[in-house]
Symmetry: C2
Subunit: 110 residues, 2 copies
């Protein structure tokens, strides 16, 4: 079993912004679920929330906001997922994942 | 005083994705705070969380995720903010606000 990644650098937020070609939303959501079902089993996974735009003409139809215990946990999980070939994006799909820290919040901690 | 907007269509999430020109991050965060200080006083505001990218080369340096009691509340607040001229974006800033519903979550409710 691979070593559990360090959580020294504290929780991080993965935000993935999806630009979905017309007619590919359902397919993209299915592919997202397959990836999420894999990632939820990985060390350091905390939670996720998939947001779907109300407007059909939104530039970003889907935005995923996930919490991880550390950058290391997230990167290790991504490597495993890529190796397992779990995420199969729809043709023409553009997605922009990046890690974020909370700079300001007035929401209750999660 | 303007009528309080209906909350019939239930809570919505405003996600605003910022493409910030080099050297304009601090200015953009200041402008964001001015807008947030105005919006927090508006009917239907629930919470907000401003995320800052860990990587300096991220396509989207800032992503704001805010919760509102309804679409109507959010739109009324935006109209008032625009009329008040509160948000002064930095030169070259591109921002893409849109309203979202949660399509899937395994996080605790907020």
């Amino acid at each position: 079993m691979s070593p559990v990644p360090s959580t020294a650098d504290g929780p991080v937020t993965l935000i993935n912004v999806f630009e979905v070609p017309d007619g590919r939303l359902a397919e993209t959501v299915d592919a997202w679920h397959a990836a999420r079902d894999f990632l939820v089993e990985q060390p350091g996974y905390i939670s996720t929330e998939l947001h779907e735009a109300l407007g059909a003409d939104a530039r970003f139809s889907l935005v995923n906001v996930a919490r991880w215990q550390s950058t290391g946990c997230f990167r290790a999980a991504m490597e495993k997922m890529q190796a397992a070939g779990v995420f199969r994006p729809a043709e023409g799909l553009r997605f922009t994942p990046a890690l974020y820290r909370t700079r300001f919040t007035d929401a209750a901690p999660r």
